[in-house]
Symmetry: C2
Subunit: 344 residues, 2 copies
């Protein structure tokens, strides 16, 4: 399998830790001593024949610095065109070079604590992908979260393929519906991991999004030639912005072409401070009288009367919210303007 | 009138701004460019023939520095013995030197925005004090606060004395009772201002607290002699700890000897961050998306989902609470121990 790692998005629900200039995938949020993108590459190394990272031009040098010595290729997007164009470009380049190979796309800013379970899931997904399925790895849910999309599982594929047909994908549900899903035992969280043959992906794009397919093939065809820069500059801005779930996974699932491998591997997307707090408690010396609070600061923080408070201090800003309201941080950060716009 | 200004207490509800090493009366909380104790002295100058500040030995030098050029005398307490001993000592020293004069005690850490109204009230209180009453200045309440004690007014004293007899003092009531008090129109807030003849105060002490009276007279008798230090060291630690309200004002009120001058003069004790927030809004550039929040910080503070949040940053600590919970800060500060004890 060839790994494709789209590294885009700021992760502004984790502001002021993550910024446009230092997005979430460049941070060491789990405290493991490595940036999340480097941890992602290291985690994939045992189950892949190499990796391609697709990231914004502004972050290409920083990503390359993180990946020194890994031999990972960094593809710089001239501008953000969302995950379908990013993953599609990497897949098209690999297809151009290597023919029909299995590719697997994995986010650059998730945490997985049980790497052995992850590797088993990837190997199972790779076998299913070889059989022609677009294959996703679904996370066994541990709570009725409304922060994730859900995957409904159908029939087992049958030996030797260790997965199930996907009935459908569901966008982030409300809490009540999430609880219903959990009760059925049929639903998994959608962690945005997709493993498939490059040919299967490109054929699906040719059928469903022919203009995007044409554009990606044009860029991939010129990629390893002197014409790369010109073609990229001319074609990339014309590509339609789509996410891979909507562009490919959902329509293919509707005709029974998507499979899922369930996995229980200590996964977190660290999507907000509630998730980060669940992953790593704050040092007790910092959180004073703060029941359920999560504190990231350089000095003791006393919290009085705000259960589940979240306090994050950086050299240029302080965020105060609660774990319950953590999802709302992004909306406020996105509205920063005037002299505060520089803080985004 | 001779002003007596007890400057004790940390004001730990305003932590981390106020500390044992830099208590509230040394801070410039109203942003007027002067410490509160200096503002108090300046405010009293037009209506007094001098002032005596009674403060802890640890703060005597800092207070003296604040009062340079004012000619105010600083009396250093070897240890905290509460307001009755502090005010009683200053009154006894003045009585020893000057005979029976009117003295007025005023907290060192309150704010009064309408100084002309304050001066009118003090002059009225002084006239009533000359007639023999222990006289307090009561604040016209603006809300049913449960953060203050209340004074119930009775009959008018009759011309030329512009005040009323005090029926009784009431400790901090709960919110429901405070609302009842407000509705009657008969109650005032107790701001702890007492004006009386030194002889009236000392006679009351002789009757009600003879040991304290004896001790204070012993110290005052030695004050302007070479024996001061020895007598102070021997007697001061034996003095009973009492607050002037309980020790004198309440028992004298019970027999009709206390009068009150109502005043509406923009008074605040800045008793907690709710009161401070009401006095001085935080700079808008600091409080981002923070409805009703009050922020004291060196960098922008974003508050998400916590109405009325209070965020206070100092070089060694951060406090996060709400205006509603501001009264609870003291209890948490008082419990700081271990390595955090130094932050008090």
């Amino acid at each position: 399998m060839h790994a494709i790692i789209p590294a885009g998005g700021v992760g502004s629900r984790l502001w002021p830790l993550s910024r446009r200039t230092e997005p979430k995938f460049l941070l060491d949020l789990s405290g493991g001593g490595r940036s999340m993108v480097r941890a992602t590459v290291d985690r994939l190394a045992p189950v892949s024949d190499g990796a391609v990272i697709v990231t914004g031009a502004a972050h290409a040098a920083a990503v390359a610095a993180q990946l020194e010595g890994t031999g990972v290729e960094v593809v710089a997007e001239p501008s953000p065109r969302d995950s379908m164009a990013a993953i599609g470009l990497a897949a098209a380049i690999l297809h151009e070079r290597l023919g029909d190979v299995v590719v697997g796309s994995f986010a650059a800013d998730h945490v997985i604590t049980d790497e052995a379970a992850f590797h088993r899931a990837v190997r199972a997904a790779e076998a299913i992908a070889r059989a022609g399925y677009v294959t996703t790895i679904g996370i066994a849910p541990t709570e009725p979260s409304s922060a994730f999309g859900y995957i409904e599982q159908g029939d087992a594929l049958g030996a030797p393929l260790a997965g199930r047909v996907v009935v459908r994908f569901e966008e982030k549900p409300d809490a009540a519906r999430a609880a219903e899903y959990l009760a059925t035992g049929r639903y998994l969280w959608n962690a945005g991991m997709f493993v498939m043959r490059s040919g299967v992906l490109l054929d699906a794009l040719a059928e469903l999004h022919p203009e995007l397919h044409r554009g990606l093939l044009a860029i991939a065809g010129a990629w390893d030639t002197p014409g790369r820069a010109d073609v990229l500059a001319a074609v990339w801005p014309t590509l339609e912005r789509m996410v891979i779930d909507r562009a490919v996974a959902e329509p293919i699932a509707a005709r029974g072409g998507v499979a899922v491998v369930p996995a229980d591997m200590g996964w977190s997307d660290i999507g907000d401070f509630d998730a980060l707090a669940a992953l790593a408690p704050s040092p007790p010396a910092l959180a004073v009288a703060a029941e359920g609070a999560w504190v990231h600061a350089t000095r003791p923080v006393m919290v009085v009367g705000i259960p589940g408070a979240v306090v994050v201090e950086t050299p240029d800003a302080i965020l105060v919210t609660t774990r319950e309201h953590a999802q709302e941080v992004k909306a406020v950060v996105d509205r920063l303007d005037g002299p505060l716009e520089r803080l985004r």
